[in-house]
Amino acid sequence: MSKLATWARLKSPWVLHFNSGACNGCDIELVALLTPKYDVERFGIKLEPSPRHADVLLVTGSVTQQCAERLKRIYDQMPEPKFVVAIGACACSGGIFRGNYDVLGGVDKVIPVNAYIPGCPPKPEAIIDGVVKLLNSLKPEKPSKEEKKK
């Protein structure tokens, strides 16, 4: 039963996008993923409007003071199991705005992050690669050949 559940979660990751103070560069590359050239609906990824519907939270931006509380609240509203992906240099560590007075400097200062995708902005291919790596890390580890022989 849990194999079925894992399969379903891998094949149907619904995402929610939140911009926590970004320059829009990463966001437009993210929206470009839904368009014909990249089309992530092939993988079952759907962009959902409400935090309650989503499994994966895609965060861009260097997390300004004002957004920090919202980010935490949205994360809390999402039902388990949930994952967070930090997209772009700003979300990973604050990027070029690190150290500014209104900037917290990275998503992991507020909520736990499962995957970091660096770039300014990362190309859509890089974002897909990051999400796929995250999904693959959820698969249960296949026993290696030596263990199978035992």
């Binding site: 079925l4 609906e41 519907h53």
Partner: protein, 330 residues
């Protein structure tokens, strides 16, 4: 004893609940593929061959998520309304002859057309209740929009559904389906076209999909739901589409009846039913992809000022055809 087993099999497996459940997901996959193709994309591709298992994966994933009930929500209604609306639609579907006989055998009774239209209204009402019970302003607005829309469009839908009833001389669906020596789409094409348009509004599809307008009401009435309840709400929507298409097939396209080439009739009837239903689903999905969304006041104007008078006109015309032309054909 044998009769009982048959009954249980028909209701629970085929052509009952299990079949309808998976068939709904199949129709959902077809819709997503058509929408993707119209938008020059591929749609679900990697979940099962050609992505056919995508809707199934969606439902399973939703069922395995944590269940959250907001603090301010009206808990009983919140928990029950999604399941009830889904169940009512499946119940309504079981009156339609799918393979020559309805799911619940010998269940058709005089006037069951009106009965299942009333059931659909009830199911939509439970959808409204689920949005109303969510304690969320977007849920409230979405629920209000659902109510306004389906209550308004119920009237022309009903008037248009009466057209085949007049032609067949009966209010029983199985009788209407069986009496179509010529499919009624040929005898009353105006009713068919108007019915498809009104159906778009009843099913809340573009250009009438304001209840799910993401850019205005976030998730609409579904905003606060997650996990299993969300799965049921989505399934309700998808099953409604199957129901609407099935109604069109029964009323206008001759139901499951079609040429039987060899062997027992029932599998052939089932095949024709499925083919005709898929054709209707494809048509409605095409219309969805081609238009922008209308505003609520435009939706209401279309209903009261355009569709209602036209459906009255259609009824008059159909009665004329039924009285004079149809007897000449039969």
């Amino acid at each position: 004893m044998v009769l009982d087993v048959m009954f249980v099999f028909r209701v629970l497996v085929f052509p009952g609940f299990t079949f309808l459940f998976f068939f709904t997901m199949f129709c959902d996959w077809i819709e997503r593929k058509i929408e993707a193709r119209m938008q020059n994309r591929m749609g679900p591709t990697f979940t099962g061959p050609a992505g056919i298992l995508q809707p199934f994966a969606d439902v399973v994933k939703l069922l395995t998520k944590e269940d959250i009930v907001p603090r301010g929500a009206k808990k009983t209604v919140f928990r029950l309304a999604p399941i009830l609306s889904f169940s009512i639609i499946i119940f309504a579907l079981s009156f339609l002859p799918i393979d020559g006989a309805a799911v619940i055998p010998n269940s058709s009774f005089s006037g069951d057309l009106i009965f299942i239209m009333a059931l659909i209204t009830l199911a939509n009402f439970f959808l409204f209740l689920s949005g109303w019970a969510s304690a969320n302003p977007y849920g409230d607005i979405g629920a209000a929009r659902v109510l306004t829309q389906f209550l308004g469009y119920d009237i022309p839908l009903f008037l248009l559904a009466l057209a085949p009833a007049f032609l067949a001389g009966s209010l029983t669906i199985s009788a209407i389906a069986a009496n179509q020596y010529l499919p009624f789409i040929l005898l009353a094409p105006w009713a068919f076209v108007l019915f498809i348009i009104t159906l778009q509004a009843e099913l809340e599809k573009d250009p009438f999909d304001i209840p799910h307008a993401e850019s205005e009401v976030v998730g609409g009435l579904e905003t606060e739901f997650c996990g299993g309840k969300l799965a049921f709400l989505r399934l309700t929507r998808d099953t409604q589409i199957v129901f609407g298409a099935a109604l069109v097939v029964e009323l206008f396209l001759g139901g499951p009846y079609g040429p039987v080439f060899f062997g027992p009739a029932a599998p052939w009837y089932f095949l024709w039913f499925v083919l005709k239903l898929l054709a209707v689903v494809v048509i409605t999905e095409y219309v969805t992809c081609l238009f922008a969304r209308l505003r609520i006041d435009q939706v209401l104007t279309t209903n009261w000022k355009v569709l209602l008078p036209l459906s009255v006109l259609s009824l008059t015309l159909t009665i004329a055809v039924a009285t004079w032309i149809y007897p000449m054909v039969t």
